[in-house]
Amino acid sequence: MATPVLDKVEAESAASPYITVTMRIRRFNPEVSDASVWEDFQIEIDPKERVLDALHKIKWDVDGTLTFRRSCAHGICGSDAMRINGKNRLACKTLIKDINPEKPITVEAIKGLTVLKDLVVDMEPFFQAYRDVMPFLITKGNEPTRERLQSAEDRERFDDTTKCILCAACTSSCPVFWNDGQYFGPAAIVNAHRFIFDSRDEAGEQRLEILNDKDGVWRCRTTFNCTDACPRGIEVTKAIQEVKRALITRRF
């Protein structure tokens, strides 16, 4: 058994860690102007800190009007999906050192949803698509007195898609969704998958029919942007493929 002693993490912490970075943020406030503009902020930050920390430094010490959503600050609540250096990420899960702080770090709102102010978008169409796939367990017959039984293997079948935090990083990285907001988008399909492949659920056919729609699962062009964007590491494209296959074979 390993007996831990002082390790490498500690050794690094003594030297002054601060560096200067430029945060280049796409600003938009319809109370001020109809046009959005890029604005640069120079801040001192420890590169082991998060992009969210950088945004807080700006908001708290420089410009209180900078507006973004955030809550848990460690990748669980899904509030702070943003486009950082051109890729969808959670600001609280992205460390400065990992995104080349030598160059300006660009931060803008996620795409495909209406920007309301700075980094805040209208989430309503996103949640509507989610609600449309009936994201809840549907069963028939009488309820058992104890829990429904489920084997560990059956539980594992949909484990990956239970991890979704509804941050919209996947949906707003999808070129099909950018072009046509009617597309359900990856997140809604992921949440349909979570129930279609749950052995306790009895409404898989209904959900498949919903996704068989012209704005459903067939719009997916397997660009894998969604899988790359998912901060929870869900294999989103694979889940979408499994739903497509279930639609063809009617087996799930």
């Binding site: 500690e10 309301l116 935090i165």
Partner: protein, 584 residues
């Protein structure tokens, strides 16, 4: 300004609020007002599990669970409430499973269970497997499952509506709830919600500490709204410091990690919990483990150049077990510390985690305006409330349980109350306090900044009222908070707009934190004993003669407008368990 009328209004959409909403929507016209989108709530950050004596993997019963809860709370728990919590736990877990919650399973397909701190077989004999879990994301699954069922039931949400004031109308000298005042983030508009019943489920106050597992948004808004309207706050001096937060960041690493076999070690590699808790060891209750960690650090056995943390060692556990049972926390270590938990121990320190105190309620969730009087139409559940099922120290997995048991109870009670009651008349100019608060901040030309005051508040709270407290440190905190409250009068904001003005809301949230920090410190100063999460180095023993009682703090406003905290006390309900010395 808009006026809405609903039978039942729920403030907050975390676990307690949504569990209540599922019940009350079936029975009454219900609106849920939430400052965050529902799935953003901090219930989602809970990891380890939800306790219930299902006895799926070994012998267990709810009476043992009741005892553990009472003992864990250092006998400040109201025992009638703890009994309800433990007894109804079983149905609460089964309810969630039937709603679709994907629990981990045993080989025979039932809900799997694991060990957790302070939960024992037969009154302390040995650890017991009582925590029902879904990997290390049980809170996430509960939050998602409850939201899914809110969608199913058609619950009406008002997202990003901040409730800033509780409306009270006195009828024959009795305070009645008349509704709430909310601020719509998107537009800056003020909304009055007249309601027959209001349920607060708005969460905790952890953001007055610096190193905390709490979200930025946990600013005690519900507690402050009630307190400002003359309602008491109970046991606010009792705050839980979770032993294993990520060093300096405070991000939670579940107790389930120790339930799976993880071990705490000091700089010499010693398993130091064996000294402090010979039976339960690393799974002693959280207050005991947090104090043990700081004792190690103070006696020079902490790790790192500054000796300011210890290690959570998972390296002896098989990688497959970590992947299957603790996937999220091992990823946190990789993401935020660059550490591989398969091979390296994780630096941790205690982190401010949970408010045991809050708005006093009875077991139906009805809010009390003194030791016995119910406020008709007003309810609270979850971390915002104090039933009290957690007493001086909450057991791990009992908060996910609390939100489900008392969320459900308050949802049913509130809806039944609104079905048989009339609307209470609104007070005159119901919006006036909120308008005055907002306009003052918007028009202020003062030179104080929200971020500076908040930073100083958090630093003083960490330094003076954390795991170890003395008369001197608490007094320092009281004085500093008073100074900060004075400076807060001159705070100004930069964003003067209407649309998504989070600058304004952060200023209001800071006002709530300052008010509640004062209540906490004043309550802590008066409790001259050590019990559960409240440890006084100058009074290291529990004093059942003088302090076996709940603190009740009231806001008093003098004729000159000056504000003080008045303390009163409430007896503890004891049924079957006599206080004993607490050993693990």
């Amino acid at each position: 300004m808009k006026i809405h009328k609903y039978d039942t209004v729920i403030v907050g959409a975390g676990g307690a609020g949504m569990r209540a909403a599922i019940e009350s929507t079936k029975r009454s016209r219900t609106a849920v007002l939430t400052k965050l989108y529902p799935t953003r709530s901090h219930t989602g950050a809970a990891q380890g599990g939800m306790a219930a004596a299902l006895a799926n993997v070994e012998e267990d019963n709810w009476e043992w669970h009741t005892f553990d809860t009472v003992k864990g709370g250092d006998y400040l728990v109201d025992q009638d409430a703890a009994e309800i919590l433990a007894k109804e736990a079983i149905d609460a877990v089964l309810d969630l499973e039937k709603m679709g919650l994907p629990f981990n399973r045993t080989p025979n397909g039932t809900i799997d269970q694991r060990r957790f701190g302070g939960h024992s077989r037969n009154h302390g004999e040995a650890p017991v497997r009582r925590s029902c879990y879904a990997a290390d994301r049980t809170g996430h699954m509960i939050l998602q499952t409850l939201y899914q069922n809110c969608v199913k039931e058609g619950v009406e949400f008002f997202n990003e509506f901040y409730v800033l004031d509780q409306l009270i109308t006195e009828i024959d000298g009795v305070k009645h709830s008349a509704g709430v005042v909310a601020y719509e983030l998107a537009t800056g508009e003020i909304h009055i919600f007249q309601a027959k019943a209001v349920i607060y489920a708005s969460g905790g106050t952890g953001k007055f500490f610096k190193v905390t597992s709490n979200a930025h948004t946990l600013t005690g808004d519900g507690q402050a709204a009630c307190y400002r309207r003359g309602l008491p706050l109970e046991d606010m001096e009792f705050f839980q410091f979770h032993p294993t937060g990520i060093w300096r960041m405070g991000i939670l690493l579940t107790e389930g990690a120790r339930g799976e076999g993880g071990i705490l070690r000091n700089k010499d590699g010693e398993r130091f919990m064996e000294k402090y808790a010979p039976v339960m060891k690393d799974l002693a209750s959280r207050d005991v483990v947090s104090r043990s960690i700081y004792t190690e650090i103070r006696e020079g056995r902490g790790c790192g150049p500054e000796g300011d943390h210890v290690y959570l060692d998972l390296t002896h556990l098989p990688p497959e077990q970590l992947d299957a049972k603790l996937p999220d926390i091992t990823e946190f270590a990789r993401t935020y510390l660059g550490i591989e938990p398969y091979t390296d121990p994780i630096p941790i320190q205690p982190t401010a985690h949970y408010a045991m105190g809050g708005i006093p309620t009875n077991v139906e969730g009805e809010v009390l305006s003194d030791n016995t009087t119910v406020v008709p139409g007003l309810y609270a559940a979850g971390e915002v409330a104090c039933v009290s099922v957690h007493g001086a120290n909450r057991l791990g997995t009992n908060s996910l349980l609390d939100i489900n048991v008392f969320g459900k109870r308050s949802g049913i009670a509130a809806a039944e109350y609104s079905a048989k009651s009339d609307f209470v008349e609104l007070p005159e100019n119901p919006e006036s306090l909120v308008v005055a608060t907002i306009e003052k901040l918007r028009n202020s030309t003062g030179h104080e900044r929200v971020a500076d005051i908040r930073r100083e508040l958090q630093e003083t709270m960490d330094a003076n009222v954390m795991v170890f407290r003395t008369e001197q440190t608490i007094k320092t905190a009281v004085e500093k908070i008073a100074e900060l409250r004075e400076r807060y009068e001159n705070v100004s904001i930069q964003d003067k707009g209407k649309r998504f003005n989070t600058d304004l809301l952060e200023a209001i949230e800071l006002g709530n934190l300052l008010e509640l920090a004062e209540v906490m410190a004043v309550s802590a100063l008066a409790r001259k004993e050590s019990r559960g999460g409240h440890y006084r180095e100058d009074y290291p023993n529990r004093d059942d003669v003088n302090f076996m009682r709940h603190t009740m703090a009231y806001r008093e406003v003098g004729e000159d407008g000056s504000e003080t905290v008045r303390l009163d006390y409430k007896p503890v309900v004891q049924t079957r368990y006599q206080p004993m010395e607490r050993k693990y």
